[in-house]
Subunit: 394 residues, 2 copies
């Protein structure tokens, strides 16, 4: 077989696999029609993908009797990916199959300030025990997706000037991990992966989605035309330090005044309520107070929603999203925060941009990060460019 | 030849063409190395592309004597595209080659309010005379790019609820044009194509660029990771109606108050200066006054720049662009407008996002739209998906 034939065979199998990766069963005839390949070519490619274990006959079709099975679909258990959602003080690791279903998961308090070697070593140990727990081994593993709480240079997977990650600046995360597990390693900002996770969970057909995390800080992950926006330095979506009208003179930890984060983050609301005599030390205390029906706390959260809405109005005009999902620990206060956001965005934006805009609470909630990290890995490994690494495993 | 072989050959030629479309000359050995194809396959594909007229031997290599020419490059004169930049009251049509060089161009006052049939008929007549003028005919034409002053649904090329384009709402622009010229027709918003034109002219390697048009209205075209952002309803970049701090109570034609456009557009600055006793009827009068050194006019333009900067600060945080280029008729006032923008953006944004950010005057200026419309057509027709339509012409 010449080089060019080998490459054309690989391409054919990859092309079929791209069609089948959505999990929908298809017949050989449907595959031939969609690809324009000859029936005989389709038959050979289907056999090839079956031998790799990447696709399988669909059960009902296989049970029709003597004829060969007529429908095929992705075999989602064929391979697994590793997902890690590493926060400032807490980390979550999971093993997921090719459909993104989480097979096993473990989370515990881990401080990002331990530095990359300690945190990533913990991740690898946890991964090994999760793989064992699911009866899989490292040869089943085809990619790793990692979210970290700081800006990441997309092309290299290196954190760049991350403000709360001492020791991680320019650390070669993919290179270090690949010394231990030789598969593609994808790294991204934690809010970016939450946007991926939210979309996969609740809005799989949406091409334009913003995920806004409101917690100790405020940040956004933005998907436009189905792609994550990363920006020139990987800091796209860093909306916490946009100035809001109500902020005049309020100091922010960034050194400026009037930043959204200085007014509407969990600690900022807690501080404002303390000044009114409440005993709120942090965002969790605020959430508890709101849930107890405290009017001052409800008003403070509503106003924080308006502040966030002020910044999101500019985002809506710039991006024209279909969905804005609010997540992060402060989103647990429920409708009060969203009500403030909606009030301002729907008042202040052009009807064309808001006519079909949904502003909702995150559905994925606490799972957005870990689901998103598995999506980051899957989007890479199921892409045409990575087909050879997928086909070569096992 | 079987179907699958035909498709694999087509793929091979297309793949080579993708490499060569940048205009850089390459040897067969370089092409083999980049594609992984066998040398014999490369030789066949190069001959195929030469027969189609899409590539040609490079002159100096061809002159080395008896051996066959060793370097090949895109033959940019092989085909042409048609570009149309249709504004509210003025339109520009051009014929460009495959490298985007404009071969012939014509502009004249045309009111968008004439409606799609009259405006597009004018465009076709102008195109026919430009083709004749360049010695080309309609068989050389491989795609058409059209910019219009309103939101466009990307998938269909139809204007959707365009505020200043009576009769164009949901008009099937590509369908109508293709009744007369059977080539792909791409339609986009005028500020979006200006962003493409600016990038092609001054920032060809930049992946993250915002083009801000300041004229009768204010709008932006945003390129992120090399792709134009369009948003769910095609209104991404519509930043003219974001509220600015200074705007409290100032009525805008959109029905809201305090919009950027009500403070910082050409007509808004002219109005503010009239209230100070100047004889400024429109943006052009403001530009003339600034150029004459009038201090009040310079101050008004500087303040408009600060207002624009206020909105762009949010855009910088959200998008993390590398370049913001200011264009449109008001950008002709020179550095005063940009100075105001810079003052606010550099004061208010996070250092990570502004460390490598250039805020500059548009280089393409009045040509941004027509160059961008040709880029819109070229990006489509030179893409792998459109290779067959390109190969099939002539």
């Amino acid at each position: 077989m010449s080089n060019s034939e080998a490459s054309s065979n690989g391409t054919g199998a990859s092309e079929l696999f791209q069609l089948l990766r959505d999990g929908e069963p298809r017949t050989r005839a449907q595959l031939a029609k969609s690809t324009g390949m000859a029936r005989s070519t389709i038959a050979a490619r289907v056999d090839e993908l079956m031998r790799m274990g990447l696709i399988a006959p669909v059960a009902e079709a296989a049970s029709t009797g003597g004829r060969p099975p007529s429908q095929f679909a992705l075999r989602s258990s064929a391979r697994v990916v590793l997902a890690a959602d590493i926060g400032a003080s807490h980390a979550n690791v999971a093993v997921a199959d090719l459909s993104g279903t989480i097979l096993a998961e473990h989370s515990e308090p881990v401080s990002i300030t331990l530095g990359p070697v300690d945190v990533l070593s913990w991740m690898l140990q946890t991964a090994a025990s999760l793989l064992a727990q699911t009866g899989r081994d490292r040869h089943d593993l085809v990619a790793i997706g990692i979210g970290v709480p700081g800006p990441v240079e997309h092309s290299t997977g290196q954190p760049v000037n991350p403000p709360i990650m001492p020791g991680w600046d320019r650390f070669d995360v993919p290179g270090w991990v690949r010394q231990h597990l030789e598969v593609p390693v994808l790294v991204d900002n934690d809010v970016n992966i939450m946007a991926l996770g939210e979309r996969a969970t609740a809005w799989p057909t949406t091409e334009h989605l913003m995920f806004v995390k409101v917690a100790t800080g405020i940040g956004a992950g933005v998907i436009s035309s189905g792609m994550l926006l990363r920006g020139a330095q990987g800091v796209a979506g860093d909306i916490g330090h946009v100035r809001v009208a109500r902020g005049a003179g309020v100091p922010c930890h960034c050194g400026n005044t009037g930043c959204l984060e200085a007014l509407a983050s969990g600690p900022a609301i807690a501080r404002a309520l303390r000044e009114q005599g409440a005993d709120t030390q942090n965002g969790s205390d605020v959430v508890a107070l709101v849930k107890s029906g405290n009017v001052e706390a409800i008003q403070a959260v509503r106003q924080a929603g308006r502040d966030i809405g002020e910044v999101l109005t500019a985002c809506v005009s710039l991006m024209n999203p279909e969905v804005i999902a609010l997540g992060g620990s402060m989103a647990r206060v429920g409708e009060h925060l969203i009500a403030g956001v909606r009030e301002v965005v729907y008042t202040r934006s052009m009807p064309l941009a808001t006519g079909h805009l949904s502003i909702v609470q995150s559905t994925a909630a606490g799972k957005a990060g870990i689901i998103g990290a598995s999506m980051l890995a899957l989007d890479h490994v199921l892409s045409p460019a990575a087909f050879h690494s997928l086909a070569g495993r096992r």
